[in-house]
Amino acid sequence: MDNRPVMIDLQNVKKKYVIRHNFEKPATFSGKLKLLAKKIAHPTKKYDTEDFYALNGVSFQVRKGEKVGIIGKNGAGKSTLLKILSRITEPSDGRIEMLGKLSAMLEVGTGFNGELTGRENVYLNGAILGMTKEEIDAKMDAIIEFSEVGRFIDTPVKRYSSGMFVRLAFAVASNLEPDILIVDEVLAVGDTKFQRKCIDKMMNIADSGKTILYVSHQMQTIQQLCDRVIVLKEGKVVYDGDVEKGIEIYTETVDVDKTNFDLTDHKPRGSQLAVIENIEILDKENCAWFYNEPIRFKVRIRANETCEKVKILFYVRDLNVYNVFSKSESGEIAVLKRDKTYEFECCIGNSNILAPDKYIAGVEIWKNDESGLIHDIVPEAFSFEILGEDEENNTVKPLNWDTCYHGHIMLPNIETKIVCER
């Protein structure tokens, strides 16, 4: 039996959010009467409300020295879990017991003020993260050295380059000495060299026997850092255990067999003046295309208010949730009339630049003016696969395309010719 002390113990933790809907427009006469009755009974009520569980009964234990990676698609409840563990918000139900001092790095540089010098910000940020003045005094030299800001430490941080800013911020956070460390994807900051340094620092912290909870979309870092993985899906733990197996399960939750995606219940983001309701794949029985085939699908959008200058943006991410590309349709700017539903047929024509792999497609609708107001986003609308062969089953060239090495974009060609020989 594992007799290391239990550092974190979650028991059936739930988090409820209340979402507002506009009243549904009834189609039948009796429906209209019902709505009228409802409006008379609650004259101030403008919305229907619905409960949404971002976390729906999450239980697990983490023992001292464990390094747990938490993975899951956007909206699976990762951020909510982090916010509850770091005590930014309270759970609606359940109980959590934690031992020792906890530090959460959900963002680097929280509370940094541009007018203050680097040093002043270190004291302020350190205090916000729960360090005492003596602790910061003792760590000051290490922080300055790690951040590489050197003699600029007494310059107001508003004059810092963004790289310096981030390095200093990370240096403060990483010099905390908690018993439990909770890290959100803050490592994706700075230049590559500094990222490397951050990961090394994290490994050091991990090796020193601290308990770590690490949330990321980057499977590579999870593999490097963690010895256990928890996969979340729709607010529940669907897997808890071995890293490789967990990543496999996470990748499998990426399902390419459906062709019709009902999005009416997606988490509302943006102004909601118009909402994305449905996506339907055209000409296909599953979401898999040959590398040289156009990707065609239909997006259904409902306008709650009249919206002008509406554009649809598509973006494609790989399974590590790195953006591969994003692009708005090049067509006309649409005007959507209030209470109407529209269907747009979309075609990503030159899919032959996407390398064979699995991808996640997102859709966003926004207003094409200086406000750039976003009406609605579905970050993970559907997943699809690009097959490495064409319709006649000829494999794509070059053979053995490995996205880890060759990337996700296959440019048509690059012309080279010798222009000089000496």
């Binding site: 002390p5 959010y17 001292k64 916010k83 509850i84 563990l85 770091s86 005590r87 930014i88 918000t89 309270e90 759970p91 609606s92 139900d93 359940g94 109980r95 959590i96 017991e97 934690m98 031992l99 020792g100 001092k101 906890l102 959460a104 959900l106 963002e107 929280t110 509370g111 003020n113 007018e115 203050l116 002043e120 004291y123 302020l124 205090a127 916000i128 993260l129 729960g130 005492t132 003045k133 107001p156 018993d179």
Partner: protein
């Protein structure tokens, strides 16, 4: 190995208050850090820096003296120079209104930090209040200079009760802060309050005895007790009484203000605690 020596944290819906007060003590340094930040940032980019803490109350004093003493022709307390009387009203008024505003705006103005890090939220308005007390100390120093000037001009001598001033100022700041905390929870849900507050404060400047004397101008009116319901009246009257020797102690207003303070402190804490638990879900 030292498992049982480590501090245990329990997170539950509507968790215990004991833990909160323990955390408050553990994070206490943060209040001073916030205060230091506020003071540094406020004067850092200005040319005359701390000079503003001196100049702005003096300009206010000249303006209010002109409006109330000059245009409106109201009387001062006995033979106290009008300038001194106005200045003695402005010091607690500025402190009260600023504490009120920063208390009420806590959640909205600091949403960025509070969304990302946990600390007992009350430390943020507490820090701002400390910073305002520092500003007030500077204005108070300026009053000494004014008093010396008016000693030579008009032979003005302050009351010995001036020694009580720091105590009264802490009371003012506490009243403003907790009244603000009381409002902060409404502020999260109805932002209208945030828009209304500046109006309430500028109206307050006229309906509170900032720049005129209560006893000299309407001491005998039947509606005086109604006027004193305004929580600001008692603190302002008491502060002026500490400085002006000839002034009578306005015990009615004093006890009403004290009563308001006794109401706002528990109510402010209660509502603030309730809001801070989950306000990030709303903001």
């Amino acid at each position: 190995m030292k498992g049982d020596m480590m501090q245990k944290t329990v997170i539950e819906p509507n968790g215990h208050n004991m833990q909160y007060w323990k955390d408050l003590w553990r994070y206490r340094e943060l209040a001073f850090n916030f205060a230091k930040r506020d003071v540094t940032v406020r004067y850092k980019q200005t040319v005359i820096g701390f000079g503003w803490a001196v100049i702005s109350p003096i300009i206010n004093m000249l303006l209010m003296t002109f409006i109330f003493g000059g245009v409106a022709g109201l009387s001062s307390e006995g033979d106290t120079p009008y300038y001194i009387m106005v200045y003695a009203g402005l010091i607690p008024w500025a402190l009260l209104s600023k504490s009120l505003q920063s208390g009420a705006g806590t959640f909205i103005n600091n949403a960025g930090i509070m969304n990302k890090v946990y600390f007992p939220r009350i430390l943020s308005p507490l820090g701002s209040m400390l910073a305002f007390l520092i500003d007030t100390a500077i204005s108070f120093g300026v009053m000494f200079v004014l008093m010396i000037i008016f000693y030579f001009l008009e032979g003005f001598v302050p009351s010995i009760r001036i020694l009580l001033c720091p105590l009264v100022l802490v009371w003012v700041a506490v009243l403003g802060l907790f009244a603000g905390l009381f409002l902060s929870s409404f502020n999260v849900k109805w932002r209208d309050l945030n828009q209304m507050l500046p109006f309430i404060i500028s109206i307050g400047q006229y309906v509170s005895p900032v720049a005129y004397s209560v006893s000299e101008n309407f001491g005998d009116k039947w509606w005086l007790p109604l006027y004193c319901i305004n929580p600001a009246v008692g603190v302002l009257e008491t502060f002026k009484w500490c400085i002006i020797d000839s002034m009578e102690f306005n015990s009615l207003a004093f006890f009403i203000s004290l009563g308001w303070t006794a109401v706002f402190i528990p109510l402010g804490i209660k509502l603030f605690r309730k809001t801070e638990r989950t306000f990030v879900d709303i903001v």
